[in-house]
Each structure stands twice: as structure tokens, then as C-alpha cells.
């Protein structure tokens, strides 16, 4: 997906903290994903306002790292294929 695309979590899915597993989870009809901390952070930035480029820039600044875009895209494209993340303009 292009850097200008704006990812958001689909209405049918819900991101929340699970106090039992001490992990964030993404819940959706008949399924769920238990997220690792990085995945949770990426999804937490998918607010329907930030573009993909802005999300990557935020994370790279936070960690003083570069080249995070492929990791972010792998996670979001995987969830988009299941209809759990939607890309808007």
C-alpha cells in the first residue's frame, strides 16, 4: 500500500488490552489476534488520520531507527487481507 494511504481498524474489529495475558488483542467476528508489543503499537497509531508514512515516521522517531516501513506494511497488509484493517485516502 502507498505511503499516503491512511490505515484504520475496521468497525467489526476491536483493539483492547487483555489483563490476563498482558497483551493487546484484536477481536473480530469468530476470531482474534494476540498482538506482540510492536504490533499493538502499530495498530494503536492506525487512527484513521495518520498516513502510512506518518505512522512509520512516528515509530522511527520513537525508536531512533530507520527502515521500519516493511515491518509495518507486513502487519497491516496481513490484517487488510482479512478485512480487519481498511485503507482510506
Amino acid at each position: 500500500m502507498g505511503a499516503a494511504a491512511v490505515p484504520r481498524i475496521a468497525a467489526k474489529a476491536r483493539l483492547q488490552w487483555d489483563d490476563v495475558r498482558k497483551r493487546h488483542v484484536l477481536l473480530y467476528p469468530e476470531g482474534l489476534v494476540i498482538l506482540n508489543p510492536t504490533g499493538a503499537e502499530i495498530l494503536g497509531l492506525c487512527d484513521g488520520v495518520r498516513s502510512l508514512a506518518a505512522i512509520v515516521a512516528t515509530l522511527e522517531q520513537r525508536y531512533g531507527a530507520t527502515g521500519l516501513e516493511p515491518d509495518v506494511c507486513t502487519l497491516l497488509d496481513g490484517l487488510a487481507a482479512k478485512g480487519l484493517v481498511l485503507y482510506g485516502p
Binding site: 468497525a11 483492547q16 469468530e30 476470531g31
Partner: protein, 374 residues
């Protein structure tokens, strides 16, 4: 680490206006064992205990869960706990007002069954005129913005409609259609010879599913629940016994799956007497087949035991008379001939164009009659 449950199926009542002959409820659903339904506050306690144990997904099912007048309150409690709630309903007499109230209570997802692609067949299989209510409810569900799953149990009498069923789900704007080939438990086991499809029927339907998946891509998810009698290996039933799933029955018994109550050699505990945590961790029903130390050969030395967990304990009990043996649908099981004989009989009868026997509809009088016979 101990497994933590993720899924809870709350069977709120076994009352149901539909009479589907493949119902997964127990044959003796009308008997005393299930009569004293849990009260509102008892269910709410179950939900709290489930959440504390690790449950994240809650299915509100039955019977027909909308017959419970306190459904909104149950949804509100579950939602407040952070459970993702799914209503699993026949949609009989389900109004837009009720769905709106359930949405306001926090319901996340609606699954509505249908028995066939047209009113005539759907109503015949359901044993109750319900097709019109279902179609109306599908539209209300979408109008309110719920994610919608269309659920169809497939068998000999409706497998030819798979394409029409997918097209129907597509036209309704559903997220998913579950094409669930009949699993032979409960009423379906009782009606097995009538419901079981031929190999040719299954192959034709599967070809349609593959083609339609290609055409629809991510627009509509098509779930195909395998007809396990016709497979080489057993299903990984419930993702393994006592690993992630539990069912609470209308009167509070807790089962590792919704068919397990039929296994007469297990002891089942009740949320009225024990905490859900104790039942999950300590009860006979949940510990007997957890892990792999219970496994006999050929499972014990089989690399697939990590994949299918020895298959289904209920099927082993129903078909082979022993819940502790390899699932007889496994091609490596010494009891596979029991499954093959059933399939061969169906093929023979179909080839000779013998009309299958009438099925027994799932209804209270039949339930009571069958319970006395057993």
C-alpha cells in the same frame, strides 16, 4: 503453562421455535438435566469468571437465545467486561427494535442461520416457517451496521444450493458465510443416514466454493467446515480438548464442547456448585483428555498428534463406544471401517435411488420419547 480459555459458548436456553433435524443440542434437551435455566445474575457471574480466566470471545446461543427476555442485560454485562459478543440466532420473530436494543447494549456481531436458499426448502428443513423472518433480520442487521455471518448447515438435502446460498449472502452484504457440513452429533447423529451426503455431492459443492472464493476475494469470506467422515485425517476438534474452549449449558453444566455432555463416562460439574476456574483447571470433564498423556496408539507415536490432538472425543464415543480411542474418522484408526461402512451404505442407497428415511425433527416430544428409549 496452563492453557487459558479464549472462547465461551453460552447456551442460554434449549427452547427453540425451529426444529432442524441436525441440531447439535443434546437429544434429551427437553429432559430434567437442562430444565432449571440459570438466572440473569448467575449468567453474569459466569461471564465475570470467564473473563478473569482469559475468555475474550462470547457466543450467545441456544436453542434460541432471543427467547431470553434478559438477553439485553446479559449483553450489557458481557460488553462491560470487554468480551466480544456474538449473537447466534435463528432470527425467528427478531425485530429491528430488538436488534437496536441489543446494539445499544453493546452487541458486536450477529450470526443468523438459514436452512436453504429459498423459502420452500429452508422452511421444510427448519420444520417451522421462518425464512421470511430471516431475510428481514439480515437486512435489519446490515442497516444497523452489524457485521453479519450467514450460517448454513449443509447436508444431503441442501448441498446442491451452495452457489445460491453464497449469492444470497453476497447480495445481503454479509461479511462471512459459514458453510458448515453437518458434524454428526446430537440430532444429526440420530438422523445420520438421512442427512449424510454422497461423495459426488460434496465434490460438486466444493468445486463451487473454490470458484466463488476466486470470484469474491476478500468481499465475502467463505468458511467451509469440512465433512470429516470424508476426510483422511480428523479435525483438530476445538483446537484440542480443554485448551481454549468451553460451553455452559442452560442449567449450568460446563462442557469442553457443545456435544461433550453425551459422553456418559465423564463427570460434568456445574457453575452452581463450582467456580468456572475450578471446573476449567480441576474437573474430570476438562482434565481427562487434556494434553496427550491419555492418548492410545496410533495417536501416541503419531507426529500429527500436535496437529489434530487425536481428533474428536465425542465422535470416538458415539461411533466406537469409547471416548478414549483415536477418532474413528482417522484413516490410521483401527475403527475406520465403522465410518467407511456408513459412507458405503449411503453410496449404495443413492446409487439404487432409494429414498432416504424421513428424519426426526428436533422437538420436545421427540426428545422425551428418545430419552425414554435410551
Amino acid at each position: 503453562m496452563d492453557p487459558k480459555p479464549l472462547w465461551l459458548l453460552a447456551e442460554l436456553t434449549y427452547k427453540c421455535p425451529l426444529q432442524c433435524p441436525y441440531c447439535s443440542n443434546p437429544l434429551d434437551f427437553a429432559g430434567g438435566r437442562f430444565k432449571q435455566e440459570l438466572k440473569t445474575e448467575e449468567w453474569c457471574r459466569v461471564f465475570r469468571e470467564a473473563k478473569a480466566l482469559g475468555v475474550l470471545q462470547l457466543g450467545l446461543s441456544g436453542g434460541e437465545p432471543t427467547l431470553r427476555a434478559d438477553l439485553e442485560e446479559l449483553v450489557r454485562t458481557a460488553h462491560g467486561l470487554g468480551l466480544y459478543t456474538s449473537l447466534i440466532t435463528s432470527a425467528y420473530r427478531l425485530t429491528k427494535d430488538r436488534l437496536t436494543a441489543l446494539q445499544q447494549a453493546g452487541l458486536d456481531h450477529v450470526q443468523i442461520s438459514i436452512q436453504g436458499a429459498d423459502a420452500e426448502l429452508s422452511d421444510e428443513i427448519a420444520g417451522t416457517k421462518s425464512y421470511r423472518d430471516k431475510i428481514a433480520a439480515y437486512h435489519y442487521t446490515r442497516e444497523l451496521g452489524f457485521p453479519l455471518t450467514v450460517n448454513v448447515v449443509l447436508h444431503r438435502r441442501n448441498l446442491h444450493q451452495v452457489e445460491a446460498l453464497i449469492r444470497l449472502a453476497e447480495s445481503l452484504g454479509a461479511e462471512r458465510i459459514e458453510l458448515a457440513n453437518t458434524q454428526f452429533y446430537g440430532w444429526a447423529f440420530h438422523n445420520r443416514e438421512t442427512l449424510m451426503p454422497t461423495k459426488a455431492q460434496l465434490e460438486a459443492a466444493w468445486a463451487v466454493v473454490q470458484r466463488e472464493r476466486q470470484r469474491l476475494g476478500s468481499r465475502l469470506e467463505i468458511v467451509w467446515v469440512l465433512p470429516d467422515y470424508h476426510e483422511q485425517f480428523p479435525k483438530p476438534c476445538m483446537g484440542g480438548w480443554g485448551r481454549s474452549y468451553m460451553t455452559v449449558t442452560p442449567a449450568g453444566e460446563v462442557w469442553p464442547c457443545h456435544a461433550a455432555g453425551r459422553i456418559t463416562t465423564l463427570r460434568f460439574d456445574n457453575v452452581r456448585e463450582r467456580s468456572l476456574e475450578w471446573i476449567w483447571q480441576e474437573s474430570d470433564a476438562f482434565t481427562r483428555f487434556r494434553g496427550d498423556s491419555w492418548m492410545p496408539e496410533p495417536c501416541r507415536s503419531c507426529p500429527r498428534k500436535e496437529v489434530d490432538f487425536g481428533g474428536c472425543r465425542c465422535q470416538a464415543f458415539l461411533v466406537a463406544g469409547d471416548a478414549g480411542v483415536t477418532d474413528p474418522v482417522c484413516s490410521l484408526s483401527p475403527r475406520r471401517h465403522l465410518i467407511d461402512a456408513t459412507i458405503a451404505e449411503v453410496e449404495r442407497a443413492a446409487a439404487a435411488e432409494v429414498t432416504p428415511e424421513e428424519w426426526t425433527y428436533r422437538a420436545a416430544p421427540a426428545s422425551r420419547a428418545l430419552a425414554t428409549k435410551e
